[in-house]
């Protein structure tokens, strides 16, 4: 068997940094080793790919809860009286309008409208924002935000080395976290909001955000406190069915939830409009922002291709880069594909050229020489019941 000697890649992200540097370890590295995790090199970090069966980890998050180490994510702080205005200029969203204690999904674009990264931005306080970047893009996001903040009364810091991030996701997440989050009323933290508090006695920013399509929390803590927080959550979650979950499960969870992954659905060659996320571009916010002109033109002309969901009529997986065919002719390309543990069939996201799905054309995916029928499916593939 070939391919097993190298560790299977997580879609799109493996070894994005080409440097020969030894991959960085998160503060939970020893915990992952003790749990017997299969580790993978991801965006310059050594990360747990799975602890056992990724399918079981996926289903545990849907039915109970999963615990994730996401300490590879980039944390960039923007502070000062001009922080909101600086982010309004640097990003496509209206961050000065974000209320303290709330979060926003947004993007940073190049002058030509291409996506440099998708981000979650928390307004921790009136003059303090926390920008979460994908690990592979942390340097680009930090440098871009810093450069674009010139002239604003704002200080931009790459604080990735100071933060660890532990996420607890799934219907049981709130119940497991609540007894450990003394003094925090989790019920008062709405979706896409957060609050400072203590988790297992350690100060943390606790946010009701995630990348799984489930209810859950992301706990941003100091590096040295991550193991204690992880262990406390693990112990508290035993009865509720909480399991550690790796990047493999995270990828299939976000795919079912129809969430884009940078490097797959998003990149410098697409604008937010192609990805169906044009709503993140706030043309009506005060002042200029980088990419406005190009994005306005794209908004007016309409996207040149469109992100869609596909259900594959086979057990084989339509993977990143595989061609999509309409009546046998190439009409697009798969961006992400995986078996859907929830639906029991392989699913995929793909960019289609305009008109590819018109006139009842029969869609298929070219899977290593075979034309496998595919069905257009509304995104997301999975939505939780509230």
């Amino acid at each position: 068997m070939s391919g097993a000697a190298g560790i299977p890649s997580v879609n799109g992200g493996e070894d994005v940094k080409s440097s020969a540097e030894r991959p960085r370890q998160t503060p939970l590295h020893a915990v992952h080793e003790r749990l017997g995790a299969t580790m993978t090199s991801f965006a310059g970090w050594q990360m747990p790919l799975r602890y056992g069966s990724e399918t079981a980890e996926h289903l545990a998050v849907r039915r109970a809860a999963g615990l994730f180490d996401l300490s590879h994510m980039g944390e960039i702080t923007v502070t000062g009286p001009g922080a909101g205005a600086a982010l309004d200029y640097a990003l496509v969203g209206n961050l000065s309008a974000l209320r303290p204690g709330r979060a926003r999904y947004t993007m940073i674009c190049a002058e030509d409208g291409g996506v440099l990264d998708d981000l979650v931005v928390y307004r921790l306080d009136e003059d303090e924002y926390l920008v979460i970047a994908n690990a592979a893009n942390t340097d680009v996001v930090f440098e871009s935000v810093r450069d674009r903040s010139a002239g604003h009364d704002a200080r931009v810091t790459d604080a990735t080395g100071d933060y660890a991030l532990v996420a607890i996701q799934g219907p049981e997440a709130a119940g497991v976290l609540a007894p450990l989050a003394g003094g925090l009323d989790l019920g008062a933290i709405r979706y896409y909001a957060g609050a400072f508090g203590a988790v297992a006695g350690h100060r943390a920013w606790v946010a009701r955000t995630g990348y799984t399509g489930e209810d859950g929390f992301e706990v941003f803590c100091r590096h040295q406190d991550a193991p204690a927080i992880w262990e406390a959550l693990s112990a508290a979650g035993v009865g509720a069915g909480l399991v550690p979950a790796g990047l493999a499960a995270r990828d299939t969870l976000r795919l079912e939830a129809g969430m884009p992954l940078y490097g797959n659905e998003l990149g410098p060659d697409v604008t937010p409009f192609e990805a169906g996320l044009g709503r993140v571009v706030k043309f009506d916010k005060p002042g200029e922002f980088v990419g406005r002109e190009a994005l306005a033109a794209r908004a007016a002309s309409g996207p040149v291709r469109r992100l869609v969901g596909l259900t594959i009529q086979s057990r084989r997986i339509a993977r990143h880069g595989y061609p999509v065919l309409a009546d046998g002719k190439p009409c697009g390309s798969v961006t992400s594909g995986a078996p859907s543990p929830t639906l029991g069939v392989p699913i995929a996201m793909a960019y289609l050229e305009p008109g590819a799905d018109e006139d009842n054309r029969v869609l298929a995916v070219g899977i290593r020489g075979a034309e496998v029928p595919a069905q257009l499916t509304d995104l997301p593939f999975y939505g939780r019941r509230h």
Partner: protein, 133 residues
Amino acid sequence: MSVPADRHYTPEHEWVSIDGTTVSVGITDYAAQQLGDVVYLSLPTAGASVTAGEPCGEVESVKSVSDLYSPVDGEVIEVNAELEGDPSLVYAEPYAAGWMFRVRVAQDGSGAPALPPDLLSAAEYEELTKSAG
């Protein structure tokens, strides 16, 4: 990670269990751990002739697709039909219920099964996986 001493191995992370001229083939625990949950298998069909070092199927997991190589020359005499319905057996029990196919190999001049000279012992294979990190 386990490497049973009762069989041979290949650098392609397959195991070979020899019983007379019948050779059973599967993938190792190391390979299974690296692959994760197997979702689809393409195996050679009974009656097909296979050649050592040549691709004879595919193993598709959540994260990757890998070619399956025949470790020996011979004729496929049996394929594990259970894997068709439940490919997850490969991950769960790579050395037992997750076996993939059986090949009948020729005999050499002394009546012993004709096998490639480069099959690895359990100790040699274990060494190889350690050096692979």
